[in-house]
């Protein structure tokens, strides 16, 4: 269960947002919408534990996210604008590294097949197109087996087919009791009943 208690963030004497309060339970999706520079990425990074709010606290199952124990951190996965893939390694090597570090159970080959990346598995990430790189980044998300997905505009560079796979994965993830907070500029793509809409 993810909970934010009157979060506020000031950046260099400027208030990004304040008094933000919400709760997200298993199987629920939250959509973060707002113009550029409204603090969506900052909020996501705070929820992932990469940054600290100026006041207020964000907790995961009661524990403050900034000071989570090492093994609890495995429950959170954050994918920002950067793909988190080493350009000189092949897609398969990147996936194996994520699986080794996160200890996820998902089998790499099956995830790649889902994303139609199997033939690109042994090419270096450097030679992939932006869309393929984004799919590979999503593949590492599945491999990590995290319960809470924090995605920052995951649909950038994705074509129709890629978006369909992402929507399908998200709904399956929520169905199995997972949580997700997605910052996006097209909220209607993910909207369905019971979605929490946070407008910054």
């Amino acid at each position: 269960m993810l909970r934010a208690q009157d979060l506020a963030v000031w950046r260099a004497e400027r208030c990004l947002f304040e008094a933000l309060h919400f709760e997200l339970h298993a199987g629920q999706l939250a959509l973060l919408v707002g113009p550029n520079g409204s603090g969506k990425t900052t909020l996501l990074r705070i929820l992932a534990g990469l940054g600290e709010p100026t006041t207020g606290v964000a907790t995961w199952n009661g524990a403050t996210i900034g000071q989570l124990e090492a093994d609890e951190r495995g429950a959170l996965a954050y994918r920002g604008h950067l793909e988190a893939l080493k350009r000189d390694l092949t897609v398969a090597e990147n996936l194996e590294f994520h699986a080794a570090l996160w200890g996820g159970q998902a089998d790499c080959r099956e995830v790649l097949a889902d994303l139609k990346l199997s033939d690109a598995a042994d090419t270096r990430v450097r030679y992939l197109s932006a869309g393929q790189r984004r799919r590979a980044s999503l593949a590492t998300l599945r491999v990590s087996g995290a319960k809470l997905w924090l995605l920052d505009e995951p649909t950038t560079n994705l074509d129709g087919e890629g978006r369909a796979v992402l929507r399908d994965w998200t709904s399956r993830h929520l169905a199995t009791g997972g949580l997700a907070v997605i910052a996006t500029h097209q909220p209607d793509e993910f909207t369905r009943s019971g979605v929490l809409l946070i407008e910054l």
């Binding site: 400027r14 208030c15 990004l16 947002f17 304040e18 008094a19 933000l20 309060h21 919400f22 707002g34 909207t191 369905r192 009943s193 019971g194 979605v195 929490l196 809409l197 946070i198 407008e199 910054l200």
Partner: protein, 63 residues
């Protein structure tokens, strides 16, 4: 008096050493004064600006 100034022939060293130390102290004292002056003046300028708009995000559940 001149004997005191000559410091047994090493006057140049003694006085230059004291001179440098005095210079350091004076420079620092002056730097502090300037820095405080700027800071206070800037604070007063800032005080005249208007208040930033409240930024409370709206959170609601889609039915």
């Amino acid at each position: 008096m001149s004997e005191f100034l000559s410091m047994g022939g090493d006057g140049a060293y003694v006085w230059s050493a004291y001179g440098i130390t005095l210079a350091t102290l004076i420079i620092n004292a002056w730097l502090v004064r300037v820095k405080r002056g700027h800071a206070l003046r800037r604070a007063r300028e800032l005080a005249t600006q208007t208040e930033a708009p409240r930024k409370q995000p709206k959170v609601h559940r889609v039915q």
